[in-house]
Symmetry: C2
Subunit: 220 residues, 2 copies
């Protein structure tokens, strides 16, 4: 089918540029994460809650991917860190080339950690490697515990699954044990953190996870 | 840019097939809706809650779009109505050709209303007309009230916006008035129903909306 072949060519080209991005980030001593989720799962809130715990110790930069608006970049920029906005103009995911252009506009020598917030979409962002050190996904428990099996690629590609909005657990029919089990059926090595951006529960576990990976990555 | 041109060709071809679908559905006297939302906003729950209120009066068929699993089709099929499953194999939206194949496998003369549940995605499904009479979108209030401006095309293309999970309104920072205002800034003609699949509030308003459009559509 024609559509699939076009997709495969695009993905091969994406892989090449992602490798360039990775080399470029490493050369400048930058540790990087690609943060993915469905719309409204809380990616921006996670950044807003956790960057204040990190920014005195590490020099943080953020790339914000959005279809149209600059709202997320404004929310994160209010933290007083370097934020670069990518507006995809309707494209439903970031790709390595978009990030490559952004990397050329950031002063990478002034950064330790780069956090990339992808477009809100549980499907396509998982298909496009950006060249980061690790991918992280958020699943809001309001989305339902059947999501791992329904959207498996995102779970396969992520090193960390954040179950967000756990403050709502009594109000929704979400079985955390089932979601954990199904996520690990798909990706036995996935790590899982339960978190609430609203209550603050789990935020320090998340920043601790970033610090551990940063330290293990050997960037300097 | 090459990627955009490929997209435009695909969309033009999609429009042609969508027009065929529409003609085919009308010829067989079938009124049809394309139901779209982000993952976990409650599309399947909406069908499960509302079809029992409609199925004694109308002959209902459902097309279920999913990346991989048949879970949603099983949930809806348990209602004792005709369900056709489309597994997109990782493609993040239904397109008119997928629906066209499904239409050929349904006995359209035995249906009054066809409900198509799209893949959970707030971006791409809005770009692919399926040839239905109207598009409906769900926004779960747990996703945040900033979504209309961030994902405008879905709001532009939808005739009805369902604000789902309103039973959680006290638990989340969602301003219904703001979401309504921003949705109407984008699409002044959009109709809006507040609903909770969990409590049942608003379900009859939704089935009444379907009945009104069915009656106005002139299918017979």
């Amino acid at each position: 089918m024609h559509q699939i072949n076009v997709g495969e060519d695009l993905r091969e080209r994406n892989r090449e540029i992602a490798a360039e991005n990775h080399e470029m980030l490493r050369r400048h001593g930058v540790f990087s994460l690609n943060i993915m989720s469905a719309p409204g799962a809380g990616k921006t809130s996670l950044l807003v809650k956790s960057i204040p715990l990190l920014k005195d110790k590490y020099r943080i930069g953020v790339i914000e991917g959005d279809l149209q608006t600059t709202r997320d970049a404004e929310r994160v920029g209010a933290l007083g860190i370097e934020v670069h906005q990518i507006q995809t103009g309707g494209v439903c995911h970031l790709d390595a080339a978009m990030v490559h252009s952004a990397l050329h506009q950031l002063d990478l020598d002034l950064l330790d950690i780069l956090l990339i917030e992808n477009v809100g979409n549980l499907v396509c962002p998982a298909e496009f490697d950006l060249g980061v050190d690790a991918r992280v996904m958020l699943l809001s428990i309001t989305e339902g515990d059947d999501k791992p099996k329904k959207y498996p690629l995102m779970f396969t590609e992520s090193r960390l699954l954040i179950l967000n909005k756990v403050d709502l657990i009594e109000m929704v029919d979400f079985d955390i044990a089932r979601a954990r089990r199904e996520a690990m059926d798909i990706n036995p090595r996935i790590e899982i953190i339960e978190l609430s951006c609203r209550s603050g529960a789990g935020i320090e576990e998340w920043t601790g996870w970033i610090e551990k990976l940063y330290s293990e990555s050997g960037v300097e």
